[in-house]
Structure formats: C-alpha cells, structure tokens
Symmetry: C2
C-alpha cells in the first residue's frame, strides 16, 4: 500500500477524529476509497476502537432517489439511532462519476437533502472529519490524470500539521484582534467589513482533511463594496463564472456573472441570509497549488480568499454579536496572488499572497 495512504489514515484517526480506545467509530466511504478504508480500519484496530462501515454509493442513492415519492420521504431513524451512539465519524469522499445523480429531479434531490439535515446535526455532535480520496471521477473534474491527482491530494494532506497550524496561527491572531478587514484585488475587488467582536478560528487537522485556512465571520451589516470571484463556483452541476457582488449595509444590492447569472440569482434568493456574508476565510495550505472544482481543497488554496454567502459558523460569532442565518453556506473564491492585498485596521497584512509574517513581504 502507498505509504501516503497510511499516513492519511493516521492523521484522520489520531488527529482529526482523535479516536481513543473503546470509541464507537463510524466510517462512511465509497468503494473506490477501499485502500484508505483498510488503512483506517488497521489504525482503529491498533487503538482498540470499534468501527462500523457505511457504504456511500451514488448509484444506489440515484436509483432510490429517482424511484421514491418525495411525499414518502421519512427520517432515517435507524441511522439517527446509530449516530447518537457514535463518538467519532470519518467521512470519505471519492467519485467514479461525479455526474451519477445528474438525472435525479431537483424535487427529489431537495427531499433527500431535507432528511440529511437531521443526520448532519447528530453528526456534528461527534468528533467528525471529512476528507477526500483521490478517485478517478474527481481527477477528471480537475482535468488531471488519476496519478497526478493522487500527488495533488497527498501534497495537500501529507503535511507537518503542527507546523501548518503554527503558520496559520499567525493569521488567526491578526484576524481575531482585528476590527476592520479590507480585501483589494485588481480593478474590481475592494470590500471592507467589520470583524469586531467576532472569533477567528484555525482550521488545520480538525474537521477537514486537508485543512488550511484562517476563518472568521463578518458583522452581518458591515460589509461594503464590491467583490469579483475569479474562481468558478459550481451550483447544481453548472458553473458560475466571474460572479460580481456589490454590498451596501451588508446586503447584496447588485450582482452579475459572465456565465450562469441565473444560478447566482437563485442562490441569492434562497432566503434573507443568503444575501449576506457568513464567512471570511483565508486559504493558507500551500500544498494546494491549483483549482480543482472541489471546495474541500479550493477554499484552502494558498494565495486565495473566500467569502461564503449564507450561514455563519457558531464558533466564529462572538457572544453579543448577531449570527447570519441561512439555509445555505456557499463559498466563493478570489485569487490574491497578484495585484492584491489584505488590510487589517489600516495595515497591509498580505500583499500578492505573501503574509506580513513571511520572508519577502513588501508593504
């Protein structure tokens, strides 16, 4: 077995899910990720945990979702009962065909998502982690050979996570102490927001593997200015290109896109909270050096910033601060590697991707 797979398993079990002897562990994975599942099971055996293995199967889900009557859609009480007795959860993605559910009607897909919400909430009560196995379908989406994609995934995952965490902590500290953040890139992006009283977090070897970002939430009403997202955003299988948003008093007042503007409109019309920003994230994983149409990686890419329309994370919102609430959380990404800077309380803290605490930084 590829030694990188063993190390991937170890970081998932030991660090991300912090599994201990006697823990009840649920592993959820597609068949294509078998090698990683085997390595995870070996590590769980060594620790003395007790795993159960769920099979994430998009062909079966598609067949079920197409055949069902959305009116019949009831909660999965047996899965819920299991999750309530689960201490740690390791969710592994990996696709042979990312278009497998493309012929399920939106109505049935929505019914399926409704049920997932209950399970997601129970899952969040566990020590959970989500990760990616380098499967052919994901490689295809990234426009890469499977082997090149494996190298890409392991450059992002197979890191010294203690060092990565320390590196990110420097930016987390800056964000946590900040009142006003300004993001400037090229001619079109110049956005300011207050993060005063909000809590910045460090995402390393925690709930995402790979992690690699410093993130916080803006004060909902404080966002002002314009942002252009120069990385594509997928929505229901279609690609929104060059989305531009203008904010006043925290709310989107103008929007456009070069492609699929109607999808962008659909996102914004989800609910009131969908027209406000719930997250500001700064990508800091330099192992991720290209865009691959997979948010797990894209949002942590070095030299990028992402903003999410919709709900804010609980952990980012200060005690006396308002939390933006929405049914969605849609991350969108802006490149910061050229002609760009991040300013915090009047001081530039990143220019063209280089942080103030790095060699080569020029104010």
């Amino acid at each position: 077995m590829d030694e990188r797979i063993r190390r991937h398993a170890e970081v998932l079990v030991d660090q991300c899910a912090a599994v201990e002897r006697g823990d009840m562990v649920r592993v959820n994975a597609p068949a294509v990720a078998e090698d990683l599942v085997v390595a995870v099971y070996e590590r769980l055996g060594e620790i003395g945990a007790r795993p159960t293995l769920a099979w994430r199967n998009s062909r079966a889900s598609r067949a079920f979702d197409r055949a069902m009557d959305p009116e019949d859609y009831t909660r999965s009480d047996h899965t819920l009962a299991m999750l309530e007795e689960t201490d740690a959860y390791i969710g592994i993605n990996g696709a042979r065909n990312l278009a497998e559910t493309s012929d399920v009607s939106p109505e049935n897909m929505t019914a399926a998502r409704r049920e997932n919400k209950d399970l997601q909430e129970a899952l969040k009560e566990t020590r959970w982690v989500g990760t990616q196995y380098p499967a052919p379908g994901d490689a295809q989406k990234a426009g890469m050979s499977t082997e090149a994609y494996e190298d890409f995934v392991y450059r992002a995952v197979d890191r010294d996570w203690d060092a990565q965490r320390e590196f990110q902590a420097q930016m987390v500290e800056i964000l946590d102490d900040a009142s006003e953040v300004r993001i400037v890139s090229g001619e079109e992006t110049d956005l300011t927001m207050s993060v005063d009283g909000m809590i910045a977090e460090n995402d390393a070897d925690d709930n995402n593997m790979p992690g690699g970002e410093a993130f916080t939430a803006p004060v909902p009403d404080s966002v002002e200015g314009t942002v252009r997202f120069d990385k594509p955003r997928m929505w229901r299988g279609e690609e929104i290109l060059d989305a531009r948003l203008t904010f006043e008093d925290g709310e989107v007042v103008e929007y456009s896109a070069r492609q699929k503007e109607d999808a962008l409109e659909e996102i914004l019309n989800t609910d009131d909270g969908a027209r406000r920003i719930g997250e500001l994230g700064i990508g800091m994983n330099r192992g991720i050096d290209r865009f691959t149409y997979n948010m797990l990686f894209d949002e942590k890419m070095g030299d990028t910033v992402h903003l999410a329309l919709g709900s804010a994370y609980d952990e980012n919102v200060g005690e006396d601060r308002e939390q933006n609430d929405s049914a969605i959380h849609v991350d969108m990404i802006t490149d910061m590697s050229e002609d760009s800077f991040i300013e915090v309380d009047g001081e530039i803290v990143q220019r063209d991707g280089t942080f103030i605490f790095e060699d080569g930084f020029e104010e």
Copy 2:
C-alpha cells in the same frame, strides 16, 4: 442491468423481507454486489421504505482483526442501536477472495465472533434475509467461470417461489406428521431418529434466498445408527472429507474422516450439544444441481439430506420437547440420488431422490 438481478432484488424486498412503506431497512453488502444493491435500492424507493447501506468489506475486517488486541474487543453499541431501530435486514454475500481473512489468528477471529453474537440476536428480531451475489471468488471456490456461476445462482434464485413452496409443503406435511424417520444410502448410511412432537418447517422465500428445504429437529436422544456425509464440509478453511458418525442414544460414539479427521474431532468437542443432531433437512431446490462449497446452496440441493451437529432451531422444537443446545450448528450433507431412500414410519417417501408425491416414484 441483467433482468435476473432485478427479479432477485424484488424477491428479497417484497417476499423475503416483506418490506412496507415507512420501514427502516438495513442493507449489508460487499462492493462486488453493487448491481444487486442498486436494484434493491430502486425497489425500496418505489415502496417508500428508508434504507441505510452497510459495506461488508473483508479487507477492512482483516486489517482490523489482525491489528486489534482481543482483550479490547467491545460490543458495537452504535450498530446495535441501529439494529434495534431496524424493521428489515437484507444481507448480501459475495467475495472477490474467500481467503481474505486466512491470515487472521484463530484467537482474534474468535473475539470477532463473540461480538457478532449480540448483533445476530438483534438482527433476528428484524424481518431478515441472507442471500448470495454471484461474485468471482465464490465462482472460483465452486470451480466455475463467473458467467457459469451467475447462471447457477439465478437458476437457484430466479424461481416461481409460490410453486416451490407448494412442492415443499408436501414433504413438510409428511415430516410434521411423522414419528420415526430413517435415512438409508449405500452400504454405510442407515440412521433412524424420532421426530415425534417436533415441528417441520418450509423454507422457501423466507430467511434464505435461495431457500428450498423441508426441515425439522430430531428428539435429541433418539438418533441411532451410522451416517456417511459424502459431500465435503469446510471448517476453518479446511475440507473434511467422508465424515462418518455413529450414534447411540442420540450421541456420537464413533467418528472418522478420510481427510481432516482432527477438524471433525474439534467440532465434536465444542460442547455436549455438538455431539448430537440439531437438524434434519431435506434439500428440495432442483435449481441447485451441483455442490459449490457454499452451504446457502448446498443444503438445499435437490436429492440430498443434511444433518446439523449442534443447536436446534426454536421453531422446530415442540412445546414439551427438549431442544438441543450448542454453540455450533454444523450442517453436513449426504447425497440421496442413488441407492438411497427415506422411510417415514415404515413407509418409503423418497427413493433415489424422487419423492412419493412425484411422477416416477417407485416404492
């Protein structure tokens, strides 16, 4: 998709597990059986049941079982919690490599089985069925090409189960009314037993797919005579050939085998009940026309009789009758197609494989 797979799924869901709208269903399958899982999921969607999918993975189990310390082996409380909320269970076997767990120590295997007992009991409280997908590893064990093995499996499974049940009912009625049964085959097998007060059952499209037997339990002390099992019996990966057992007052008093006599001895020494017969079964599925080293099929083969050393099934034991109790239930098979007969209360009811209620029967 092969239409036989769809019909297999339908009989599993509709007949064997009798799934209804709103049922919580657990499907447990290996990746190699994906086509059958997809067909089962489609049918569950049509009915409006709610499935969850467990992945039976022998590589992962092996890795875990080898790595663990048997002392650490704790019950799978999360799986148990799920089973307690499960209405119907569809378990699918199918191997790429039947020797996958051959390098797990007996000590660790035993620890794994100990935990399974709790889960098996919870599972028996559901409407459950076990079946087989025609996978390459099983085909190899049977000495058949995968395609020939597919044909074999579907000849056994893809039947008119109402007609099969009626056919078997004739033998069930004979056994149920019987006091004494005598099995004679060739020079060596001549065994008598009382089934007085015991309850004969009809196994068609119930807990096994394929089904295909009439079965009952002997009165434990009543078995007398000698039997030679001319079909091989696997035990911990090894093949016992031509096992011969002699009974007095229901207990084995002599035994021998042409190969792996020590394995036969190990079976008999499990506990007191392991030296007595817990089941008499009569194979009646004529779709099964060859021995394939898979008890699910072998014990239902037309023109055979099987006896199990060890525990008797609850449903076979009359209210005022003793139930043979043991940690094991080891079926062994005798061919009845030539030079053989079954006698019930002095009347021959099967000769050379042909039943008294069939054309061509000669007393």
